[in-house]
Symmetry: C2
Subunit: 397 residues, 2 copies
């Protein structure tokens, strides 16, 4: 196990009716701004619950933080917050609203332009506290310090790290009105967050492996229940908790991480506006195929524990396995990748670029960008532009 430091101070308030606790958690003296996305919170009852919880308080509202939040929008929010002397932010919505609000919190007492802050977080001086009411399980933003911000002008998309929410309220009932595709993206996003922290060198921490596999097994078991009935409270609660636990540091203690799938996926979003979770469903299986030999031990463990793929001489579905021929390893690794692809397809997601009309031109542009920026990513620091292009050609059609 590698040395590590872990701390996560976010207070997680989880369950039915918990939005009513907002007034206990936000200081009465706070000069509050509440941030929202495109308007769904008005229709699904969440806005009314928030307003009821904060009855008697005053606040400023900023509406319109879009999926893959754009710095252009967030500049407007920062200006509004400065104008009103805001000192506490509440993000209500999905991960994009939370992410965008992290940038607002970092920029509101800062003279630097928000995009400058994204590209150079060391410029962040004083931040104001933020909290969330999370209504779309996916990004884990409700319990981590990360955010991903897009820039329309430069068609770029980058992660930056600032601060955790002080508290996050998660009521699974707020997810009941989510469209099917958002649920599919969210489940895939959660699954791949865990894979980015898991699918690295084997044997680093047996406990972290079990916990990562535990989230993936839970998602695999829960997804069909959600497809059957997305108002199934327990299933949505499991998924929601899995999304939070998948990216709050709890499965990443003392182990290497990868994140190459995310980096390549971000380029697809930046260039074509493809939903983040959808990009991951396309890139991950291809990346695993290209890096199969490097990741072989962990792929075999993953196949066995998550998908029940044992060695040839024991039949499938029955753990263990002592088959040790290289051919059997390759067969089992490929079977695990196929199972992963089938899982993503069962969610209704595409797993090939051609399905979304993306082709060679985009692959070449991503290769060019990586080369220009000197990007080299992945656990093994061996994915440069050429390797990224190789991965994208594997999932081209």
């Amino acid at each position: 196990m590698k040395n590590f430091t872990f701390q996560n101070k976010t207070k997680l308030i989880f369950g039915r009716g918990t939005i009513a606790r907002l007034a206990d958690e936000i200081p009465a003296s706070a000069r509050l701004m509440i941030t929202f996305g495109g308007g769904s919170m008005r229709h699904n009852g969440v806005y009314d619950q928030v307003a009821a919880a904060l009855k008697g308080r005053q606040w400023v509202e900023f509406w319109g933080i879009e999926p893959n939040p754009r710095v252009e929008t967030l500049r407007e929010a920062v200006a509004l917050g400065k104008e009103h002397g805001v000192d506490f932010l509440l993000a209500v919505g999905g991960g994009s609203v939370a992410d965008g609000t992290k940038l607002i919190a970092s920029a509101i007492r800062n003279e630097a332009d928000p995009w400058t802050i994204v590209r150079n977080p060391s410029l962040i001086g004083e931040m104001i506290p933020l909290a969330t009411v999370m209504t779309l399980p996916a990004t884990g933003s409700e319990m981590n310090a990360g955010a991903v911000i897009s820039n329309d002008q430069t068609t770029e998309k980058f992660a930056f790290y600032s601060q955790n929410p002080v508290f996050s309220i998660l009521d699974p009932e707020t997810t009941f009105s989510l469209p099917d595709n958002q649920i599919a993206y969210g489940i895939c996003d959660t699954f791949v967050h865990v894979m980015e922290q898991y699918m690295t060198t084997a044997g680093q921490s047996p406990l972290m492996d079990r916990w990562a596999e535990g989230i993936m097994l839970t998602l695999v078991e829960t997804a069909p229940k959600i497809r059957a009935d997305k108002r199934n409270y327990d299933a949505m609660a499991d998924y929601m908790l899995s999304a939070t636990m998948g990216l709050n540091g709890f499965v990443g203690m003392g182990v290497e991480q990868d994140w190459a799938t995310h980096s390549i996926g971000h380029e697809l979003t930046a260039l074509h506006g493809i939903s983040h979770g959808q990009t991951l469903a396309i890139v991950l299986p291809a990346l695993l195929r290209v890096l199969r030999d490097q990741k072989m031990s962990k792929l075999l463990q993953y196949g066995e524990r998550v998908w029940g793929i044992g060695a040839a001489d024991e039949g499938s579905g029955c753990g263990g396995g002592s088959g040790t021929s290289a051919g059997d390893f390759e067969r089992r690794a490929e079977a695990a990748i196929v199972k992963t692809e089938e899982f993503f397809r069962s969610l209704g997601l595409a797993t090939r670029l051609a399905e979304l009309g993306v082709g060679e031109e985009t692959i070449a542009e991503i290769e060019r960008r990586f080369r220009e920026r000197g990007t080299v990513i992945g656990e093994g620091r061996n994915i440069d532009g050429a390797k990224a292009a190789e991965i994208l050609r594997v999932c081209e059609r």
Copy 2:
């Protein structure tokens, strides 16, 4: 899933050489008292590492917090801390030192006697912060707010809850000199902490189930490696991380808990000074036998996922299982309990009261105490004095 609130602010600093970070984590202005156990820290190099890390600082030392820390000892520490105007505590040692130091932190700015505080934590006013250097993985005290304190005069032992450590430093190398029996107690304690949060009604949270099973599987895999070589860094690191994660709230979100095994075990420690982990190895299997029908679904899941006990028609060791006869359920539940007992015995622990010379007189006294106090414990609030006595008779010989 039940509604829940989760927050754990402790900063966990884990790995080789991390004691050196003490000076960065303790404010330079702190009026520091460092608390220790019986003296092993002088011999295993930990004292020297702490002193080196804090070179140039001043501190007060209190030595002599014993296993199952006694309020009589802690009163002395509180008096010393008051005398020196101490405002920051560092506990160096195992869970008992950490637990005792939590009481000191609660009593040092309080006029009430420490035992009064244990019995009535609402009396706690101002607390001073504490941190730990944890050298014995077991209690989880390094990342939770709990403590268990004994009273020699009344031969009582009670849990109380105050505050989490600000930070805890865990260097697995500090465990290399632990005696075998302390490692055995610690592994058993960790295993049973997880069982207390897991072995309840089935189906509450699939994710929490997987995480609890993940800790137990890790302990089962790691214990033989530690018995083979207790200077195996990775094995001790896995065990140490498992102990912390087993009782810091991470596997208890949204699920019922039980804790009857601990409550009964505490009486055996209070009456006979039997080590805490040892009492759990005796009580847990007996409790599972007496409550087998109530806990049947979870026992079957536990047997299958932790011990590979499948249904009769599929052979053992191969997950799944569709055997549904009551007789087959009983067979599989008993097999899971036997596996648990065998695991405890593999650690070198006793699993019967008679092995420790405890008999009917003690059982009758515990029944009397439960009746006198009106104690009714367990997930189902159905373990009173008579039921506790029934459990103890099952493990009598």
